[in-house]
Point group: none
Chain length 415, copies 2
C-alpha cells in the first residue's frame, strides 16, 4: 500500500503554517501497515492541484489530500478534483441537512458560501465530518483510491480514524503488521539508545524500532511485519519483552497511548488520592495538562495560579520573609507553595512551579530558564531544579511535563 | 522567481519528524520576493530523489533541497544529485581542512564516513557551513539553480541566510511582492466571506486574499505581486483599507502576527488595568493563554482553578445556594466567580468559565459542550453561553479563545 499525501494551501507554501498534518497522517497510516512514499504541497492553484493529482496517482495506490475544502473562495480542491476526473457536480442533500443542524445549534444563518459546500463531484462518496461543516470525499477508479479531507487538524484526524483508514483496510489486503509502544519519561533519546544499542543492532529484518521523542518523554515503538500473521504476534511479544527489560524500571511510564497526565490520573484514582496545584511560571499549563484527561474532576480539586507575589503570600501563605530572602524562584518558595495548596484546596498531594520563563527577567544568579519544581504531601516534599532555555513556551511545556513525571515518581515511591 | 522545495528523509515520510524547515525557508524566500510554488518530500531513495529533482526543475527556476547530506548511511542526496547531472565526484581539499579543524577542536578522530563528506559532485560550488560538518552545494545549468543544504534546522538557516539567499538575489531579479494580514475574532470564515464577496470577486489579478482560520478566530491575508514595486505598495494599501472597511469594527482584533492573548495584554497595559481568572471547565487553559505572552506578569495576577465545588465556595465565595439552585454550570455561578476572583486576587477585571467539557457528564438540560463564560469588573459583568461539541480538548480551547475575545470587547466598551 503506497500512499502519496498532497497538502493544499498557499498558507503552507508561504510558510505561514507548519504542516503537522502530514506527519500525523503518516503515523496513522503506519498503524495499518501503509507506507507514505511521497508528499507534495501545492498552493491554491487549479492547474497545480490537477498536476499534483496526476503525478501522485501515477506513483501511488492511494492519494490522500488535505486542505482547500472550506466554504471560502480560496478553497478550490473540490473543483480541481472534479476536473481531474472530468465530472460535474451534484447537490448532496444529507450535507445540507447536517449543515442546517449545525447552524441551528450555533444560532447562525445559512450563507451562500456554506450552501456551496453541499455540491459534490458526481463520483464522490461523501464522508461525514462530525467535527466540522466541510465533509470529506472518497473516490475510486482504476484500482486507485483518492480521499480528500479538510486541512483543520482535528477534522482531518477524525475523518482518517473513522472513515478513511477503515475503508483502506477493507479495500487493500495489507501485510500483517503489528505495533506495540513503550512510553518512557525521564531519560533522553540518546540515553535510551545506549540501553538499546545491542538490541537494535540484532533485530531481525521484520522488526523495526522507532524513537518518538516529545518534550520530556520518549515513545519506543516496535513494528513487526511478516506474511505469517502468527509469527508477527510471536515476534512482537518476544522483542517487546526483551526491549522492556533493557529500560530502567522507573523510566517506564506506561504503554500504548498513555501520557503522563493519564498515568498520574490512573495512579491517583487507584490510591484514592486528591491533587491540587500551585503554579507560577507554568501559568496554568500544568493544570491544563491534568484537566485535559476526561474524568480528572474525580481526583483534581483545583489550582492557585500565583503570578503575583501578593497571591503567593495572601492565598498560598508563602512567607514574606521567604520571598525577601530567597526570592520567588527558589526551593523554599515552591516548598511553601505545595504546603499552601494542600492546606487551601484540601488535597492529599500538591505540585508547585516557580521559575523565569523568559525571554526576559533573568539575573546572573537566576538566568532565564531557571525553574524550581516541588511535589509533596502533608509529610514530605521533594524538589527539583531545572535549567532550561530562553524559549518561553518550551520552558513552560518542559516544566509542566517534568512536574508530572516528578509527581508520578513521588506517588510510586510514597504510596 | 518560482521556487520548489524538496525535503529528503524517511523520518519525514513516516511522520517521525514534523517538517519545520519548509515553512522557515518559505518565509525567508518571501523576504526577497521569491515564491514557493511547490514542495515535495521523498524518502532516502535514489530513484525517488532523481525523479523529484527532474520534476522540480521542470516546474520551477530554483530548486532547494534539504536533508540527506550527513555522514550516515541513509544520506544519499549527494550521490543522487551527481547522477541527476550525470557527473562524477572530485575530492574537495578545503572541506577536509575544515573537517580536520572541527575534529581537532572536539578531540575526535577522522573516520571513513566523515572523509566521504569531502567528495563533491564535479559541477558543485561548495557552500561553507559554519554550523556543521556537511557543506552545502550550489549548482547552475540551463538558467536554473539547484542548492542543497543539510536538514538540521539551524544549519539550513545559516546556509540560506549567508550563502543561498544572497546568490539568488544576485542572480534573479525577483517579482516585488508584499503581504498584509488582518486578524479577526468573533465571526466564522463563511460570515467573513459574505462581507467580502464583492470585494473578492473584483480584485485585480495581482491581488490575492487568503482566509486562515483557527479556533474562534480568522486571519485575512492580502498578497500583492507586480513587476512595478511602487504599484505593489499602492495596491496593497488601497485594497487592505477597502477590505478593512468591509469587516465589522468589533470583529477586527488586530494586524499581522497579533493574537487574542497579545491584544488583550496590550489593551490592559494601555489602560493600566489588572486581570485575574477563575476557571472551571477550561482548567488552566485560559490562564495558560494569558501567560504565554512575555511580560504578562505586569497585568496578570493569577487564577483560581476551581474544579471542585468546594473550591468554588471556599475560595471564590460562590454561594452554596447558587450551586444548589442553578448548578455549577450556570450564568449565576460564573457571575459569582468573576466577583470572587476580583475580590480575592485584587484585580480590576476578571474572567470566569464553567462548563461541561466532556466527553461525559452531560444531562438533557445541560448537554456536553454547554459552557458559561463571564467577564466583568466591580461594576458590571457580561456573560455568554456556548453550546459546543463533544470533543473535550476542542471545547476547552474554544472556550478559552472565546473568553479572551469577550474580554477584548468588554475592555473596548467599558474603558
Amino acid at each position: 500500500m503506497k500512499v502519496h499525501i498532497i497538502t493544499i494551501g498557499d498558507e503552507l507554501l508561504i510558510g505561514q503554517i507548519i504542516d503537522t498534518n502530514s506527519a500525523k497522517m503518516a503515523q496513522m497510516l503506519l498503524e495499518i501497515g501503509a507506507k507514505v512514499t511521497g508528499r507534495t504541497a501545492v498552493g491554491d492553484d487549479h492547474e497545480a492541484i490537477i498536476n499534483a493529482l496526476r503525478l501522485a496517482t501515477e506513483q501511488a495506490d492511494i492519494v490522500l489530500v488535505t486542505g482547500g475544502l472550506g466554504p471560502t473562495k480560496d478553497d478550490i480542491t473540490k473543483k480541481a478534483i472534479a476536473d481531474f476526473y472530468g465530472v460535474g457536480f451534484v447537490f448532496h442533500e444529507p450535507t445540507l441537512e447536517r449543515l442546517n443542524q449545525i447552524l441551528e445549534r450555533l444560532g447562525r444563518p445559512m450563507t451562500e458560501a456554506l450552501r456551496t459546500q453541499c455540491f459534490m463531484p458526481q463520483n464522490a462518496t461523501v464522508l461525514t465530518n462530525k467535527m466540522g461543516s466541510a465533509p470529506g470525499m472518497w473516490f475510486e477508479g482504476n484500482g486507485k483510491v483518492l480521499a480528500s479531507m479538510p486541512g483543520v487538524p482535528f477534522e482531518m484526524e477524525y475523518l482518517m480514524q473513522h472513515e478513511v483508514l477503515p475503508r483502506l483496510q477493507a479495500k487493500f489486503s495489507a501485510m500483517p503488521t503489528a505495533h506495540r509502544t513503550l512510553f518512557t519519561a525521564g531519560e533522553g533519546e540518546s540515553t535510551l539508545a545506549e540501553h538499546l544499542k545491542n538490541f537494535e543492532e540484532n533485530l531481525p529484518p521484520q522488526v523495526k524500532l522507532a524513537y518518538l521523542p516529545a518534550i520530556a518523554r520518549v515513545r519506543l515503538r516496535l513494528t513487526v511485519s511478516d506474511p505469517d500473521a502468527a509469527l508477527v504476534d510471536e515476534l512482537l511479544n518476544e522483542k517487546f519483552r526483551e526491549m522492556e527489560g533493557l529500560i530502567p524500571l522507573k523510566v517506564i511510564a506506561g504503554y500504548g497511548d498513555d501520557s503522563l497526565e493519564i498515568v498520574i490520573g490512573r495512579i491517583l484514582k487507584e490510591k484514592n488520592l486528591t491533587l491540587s496545584t500551585a503554579e507560577s511560571c507554568t501559568g496554568g499549563y500544568l493544570a491544563h495538562l491534568v484537566t485535559s484527561v476526561p474524568g480528572s474532576s474525580v481526583y483534581y480539586f483545583g489550582s492557585v495560579i500565583s503570578y503575583a507575589n501578593e497571591v503567593k503570600m495572601n492565598q498560598l501563605g508563602v512567607n514574606k520573609e521567604t520571598l525577601q530572602e530567597h526570592g520567588a524562584v527558589s526551593e523554599q518558595t515552591v516548598r511553601e507553595m505545595v504546603a499552601g495548596a494542600i492546606r487551601l484546596l484540601n488535597t492529599d498531594v500538591a505540585m508547585a512551579t516557580s521559575g523565569i520563563a523568559g525571554p526576559d527577567g533573568g539575573t546572573p544568579e537566576k538566568p532565564v530558564g531557571t525553574v524550581w519544581l516541588a511535589v509533596g504531601n502533608k509529610e514530605k516534599t521533594i524538589t527539583h531544579k531545572l535549567q532550561l532555555s530562553k524559549n518561553r513556551l518550551i520552558n513552560i511545556q518542559y516544566s509542566g511535563y517534568y512536574a508530572l513525571n516528578l509527581l508520578r515518581l513521588f506517588l510510586l515511591e510514597n504510596y
